[in-house]
Amino acid sequence: MNGRIYDPLLGRMLLPDVLIPRPGSLQGYNRYTYVLNNPLSLTDPSGWQPAGEVSESIPPDLEFKITEHYRQEMGDALIRNDTEGYDRAKERLRSAEQSFRGLDINNPEPVEEYSEIRDADKPMTAQEHADFESRAAAFKAQTLKQPVKTKAEEIKPSQKDSSGAIQEKLPIVEFKLPGSPSTSQEVKDTDPDSGFAQRIFYRGAKPGEEISFSPGAKDFKTDANSFVKTSHGVSVFDNPESVSSKGRDPFEIVNESVPDTLKFIQRGQDPSHFEIVPAREATLKPEEFAAELEKIKVKL
C-alpha cells in the first residue's frame, strides 16, 4: 500500500483509515480492515480505499496526518533511545512523502496489483487469508520497492485509546549530549550514553567561507525577559547530504565541544533538520547564546 502500512501478522492496517470507502457498508466503518475484508475481489494499492473507489470526502490534510504519525514514531523512538526505530520511522516518513508525491489522492489508481486465481464460491480460511496477504505484501514490497512489513509491537499500547485508535501526539524530539542536565520528561527518559548522544550533526557553510554558528534574527526568539527560548536555534542536519544538496559545504560538529548549556532538538518538516538551542529555559541572553555557540568546533 502506498499510503498506509499493512501488517500481515495482524491482518490489519497499522494506521486507522481516514476515509469511509463505503458509507453503506458496516465494514467501511472498521478503520483497520483491508479492502472491506474482501481481498479476493478488491485490492488497495493506495492504502486508503479499495482500488477504483473514490471517496467524495478525501481530507485535504491527509498527507499531513500520515507524515505526522511517522514523525511521532521518530519522537517516540528517540525517547526510547531506539536508534534503529528512529531510522525505521524516518525511512517510512520518506517513503510516505515519496508516495504522496507520486500518488494523486483524488484519483487513486492501481499501481501493480497482486492476484491469484481461486474458486470464488469457496470461503477463505483465516490461515489462507493470512497467507494470501503475506504473498500480496511481499509482491508489493518487491514491485513498489518500499517497505511493507512492520512489527505490530511498534505501536505502543499507550498510543491507543479505548477504541483502538492511535492517539494524536505532537512530536517533541530532543536529546542531550553526554553530561548535559535534563529539563523535560523526554530528556529525563534519555540515557545520555545511548547511540543518540553519539549522533553526528553537520553545519553548512558557503563554499570558501568559514563555518559560523553565530545566531541571526532568523534563528532564535526571546521571551519577555529577553532570554533566548529553548524552542528555536541554529540549524544543523543529521547527514552531510542535506547540507551539500543546498550548495553548502558540510562540516561535522565535534560533539564534545558542544557546551552543556546547549542541546539539539529536531524541528520542522524535514526530519533531518535539527536546531542547537539553550538547554534550559531562561538561562541565556542572546549574546550569551552566541558566546556558547562559538565554543562549538567542527572537524576540518
Binding site: 505526522e68 558557503k206 532568523k218 528555536h232 540549524s235
Partner: protein, 99 residues
C-alpha cells in the same frame, strides 16, 4: 486600494534553504497604506511543534500577525500575501495594532 510593498531581508536568498527547513520566518516587512508589519509565517509542522513546546513551558502560545503557509518559501509567502491583498484581508491584518 490593495497596493502593498514587500521588503525582504538582505541575503534572504542565501538563507532561504535554511529558513524553509526551520519552518518559521518573521523577517518580511509588508508596507501597506503607510504602515508596516512583520507577520510571523509558520508551516503547519513547525507551528504544532512550537505550540506543544510553549504549552509545556508557559501554558500558552501566542504569536502576533500569525500566517500559516504550507512551506516557508519566498514563492509561498508572496502568494499568500497577494491572496490576502486580493481578498481585502490585508486591510484587516493592518487594522490590528501589532506594533
Amino acid at each position: 486600494m490593495n497596493q502593498y510593498e514587500l521588503r525582504w531581508p538582505e541575503h534572504f536568498e542565501d538563507d532561504a534553504w535554511e529558513i524553509e527547513s526551520k519552518g518559521w520566518f518573521n523577517g518580511l516587512e509588508i508596507n501597506f497604506e503607510g504602515r508596516s508589519l512583520r507577520p510571523m509565517f509558520y508551516d503547519p509542522i513547525r507551528l504544532r511543534q512550537d505550540i506543544a513546546e510553549e504549552l509545556s513551558n508557559s501554558g500558552f502560545f501566542r504569536e502576533r500577525a500569525l500566517i500559516v503557509v504550507k512551506c516557508i518559501t519566498r514563492q509561498a509567502i508572496e502568494q499568500v500575501v497577494e491572496e490576502l491583498a486580493v481578498r481585502g484581508d490585508l486591510s484587516y491584518l493592518f487594522r490590528q495594532d501589532f506594533r
